[in-house]
């Protein structure tokens, strides 16, 4: 094994705190490498705080330790931003994170939403799904906590950080349609009821309003059928306005 290869293994081990046994790197060199350690941490702290800004608010006092443990245990195998972010999401869901830090129960869901926004913002999947009648870049997320309200609460600058961190939130399920707006290309969210999720699934299959109405009706009462048709009409119009339905 070449000397350069061995030196670089020791550099990696030092930067990621993987070993205390160094044959080639002197104590002085390791001290000098601390500058790189600090710069790597500084830049990762900043990078991830920008993508996971609401989680960052909650975890602010622990952020440096979190990023340090993340870099040491979930190193990135890609230099590409959204892949680094995905890696971070996996770390937050890991036992390692859960054992070492304090956080509210809804954190995992909050991080999932923040990651999804990063993923969809950068996605180039729209090139592959041009035939879809639905917006080509979206995900439906099901949460056990009211994530939309939690985000609004965390973003409220009139509320103190202490209140944000200590306020307990009760479970209350929420379904969210997260999508990239075809006009602005920004990420938006739309709250979904169970019945609207059902309609979205039919739309994914390319069914017409008549077919969807037929599937939603398990009655022969013509009054109910016409009410369902009307409600479906309003829903589809709304989905069009929101750029969720794009070719109907």
């Amino acid at each position: 094994m070449s000397k350069l290869y061995q030196v670089q293994q020791e550099i990696l081990n030092y930067l990621l705190n993987r070993s205390t046994d160094f044959k080639l790197l002197s104590k002085d060199s390791r001290d000098e490498l601390d500058i790189y350690k600090s710069l790597i941490l500084n830049s990762a702290e900043k990078l991830l705080a920008s993508g996971f800004q609401h989680s960052h608010i909650l975890l602010k006092s622990q952020w440096r330790d979190i990023i340090k443990l993340y870099l040491e245990n979930f190193p990135s195998y890609s230099p590409i931003y959204f892949m680094i972010s995905k890696n971070f999401t996996e770390f937050i869901k890991s036992d390692l994170f859960q054992k070492n830090f304090s956080y509210p129960d809804y954190l995992g869901e909050l991080v999932e939403l923040e990651w999804t926004k990063i993923e969809l913002l950068n996605s180039n999947e729209d090139q592959k799904n041009k035939s879809s009648i639905l917006n080509p870049v979206y995900k439906i997320l099901k949460f056990n906590y009211p994530i939309t309200s939690i985000i609004a609460y965390l973003a409220d600058t009139t509320i103190s950080l202490e209140d944000k961190v200590t306020t307990e939130v009760e479970a209350d399920s929420e379904n969210l349609f997260v999508y990239r707006d075809t006009a602005s290309l920004q990420i938006k969210t739309f709250l979904l009821s169970e019945s609207v999720i059902e309609v979205i699934k039919y739309l994914e299959q390319g069914l017409s309003p008549e077919e969807i109405t037929g599937l939603l009706c398990n009655t022969e009462n013509s009054g109910q059928i016409s009410q369902i048709q009307q409600e479906l009409f309003y829903l589809l119009e709304n989905l069009k306005k929101l750029n969720i339905l794009i070719k109907y």
């Binding site: 070449s2 350069l4 290869y5 030196v7 060199s29 601390d34 913002l121 729209d126 290309l185």
Partner: protein, 275 residues
């Protein structure tokens, strides 16, 4: 200038007077759709030439035993598609190691200045030039550690890589100033020792003095930040290099503190006056 997200609008509004080409960090423009792709297309349609300057090619990484080079296929494929699109005259990266055991370190770790490292770096450059079919430039990086006892001084190390790989030099005059100050040598002597005929491009930037490392509380004389005003001594180095060799392209590197764009424009005007 370097194309940065927060500067894109200012740069496009300024047009092609002071800024007649743009440098991009190519890793930021691959495998991306949406608003980022749209903004990039807007820059492309402005017809300002784009030149890629990477930070992750890691030309200083020693390959695993039995391998010729150590590269990330996914990254290289993305870059190749981008280069096909933008048709740059050349591309560049630093003499550094940013990837070990396939792990990206997100910083420019120095390469020990040994004869073995010259061979490794040159071999990696030859591979890249062959893969992309484009000329490659190496940048002299700023560094804060020699890591192990050097076998070569900095200028000899760079010159040997240039000769062995037959590539060009991207001379960063701010890095020359930073290294000369931190390691106690003459910046002018260093420049004089380089094979200046290999210079194709020059970088100029600002830096931060007295960076305190929060891990061990040691104070570093100068940290290369690309976020502060350019010092007169660094402008003087640019003038010195320009008097010694032909520079094809000069870049003002600015990676943070964009608020005062007028001050950045003034720096561009100073550079133009020097050249």
């Amino acid at each position: 200038m370097g194309l940065r997200k927060d500067l894109r609008k200012n740069i496009l509004e300024l047009g092609t007077g002071l800024i007649n080409w743009l440098e991009i960090v190519p890793e930021n423009y691959i495998y991306r759709g949406g608003i980022n792709q749209k903004n990039f297309q807007e820059v492309l349609s402005s017809n300002i030439p784009l030149i890629p300057h990477g930070v992750n090619l890691s030309i200083g990484t020693a390959p695993d035993e039995g391998h010729r080079v150590a590269y990330d296929k996914y990254l290289l494929e993305g870059l190749k598609n981008l280069f096909t699109q933008i048709q740059p005259p050349w591309f560049s990266d630093h003499i550094s190691c940013t990837r070990i055991n396939s792990i990206y370190l997100q910083d420019l770790i120095p390469v020990p200045r040994t004869f073995e490292a010259v061979e490794v770096v040159a071999n990696n450059i030859k591979f890249l030039q062959d893969y992309f079919q484009l000329p490659f430039l190496i940048e002299n990086p700023s560094y804060y550690s020699d890591l192990i006892e050097p076998e070569l001084n900095e200028a000899d190390f760079i010159n040997k890589i240039l000769a062995s790989s037959d590539c060009g030099l991207l001379l960063d005059v701010n890095n020359v100033f930073v290294n000369a100050s931190n390691h106690g040598y003459s910046a002018l002597d260093f420049i004089d020792s380089l094979d200046l005929e290999r210079v194709v491009q020059v970088h100029i930037a600002g830096h931060l003095e007295n960076y305190k490392c929060w891990i061990n509380n040691k104070v570093l004389g100068i940290l290369d930040t690309h976020g502060h005003p350019i010092r007169k001594e660094v402008y003087d180095l640019l003038a010195y290099v320009a008097s010694k060799t032909e520079i094809k392209a000069t870049l003002l590197e600015r990676d943070s503190n964009f608020e005062d764009f007028e001050a950045i424009v003034q720096e561009l005007k100073t550079i133009e006056l020097i050249l």
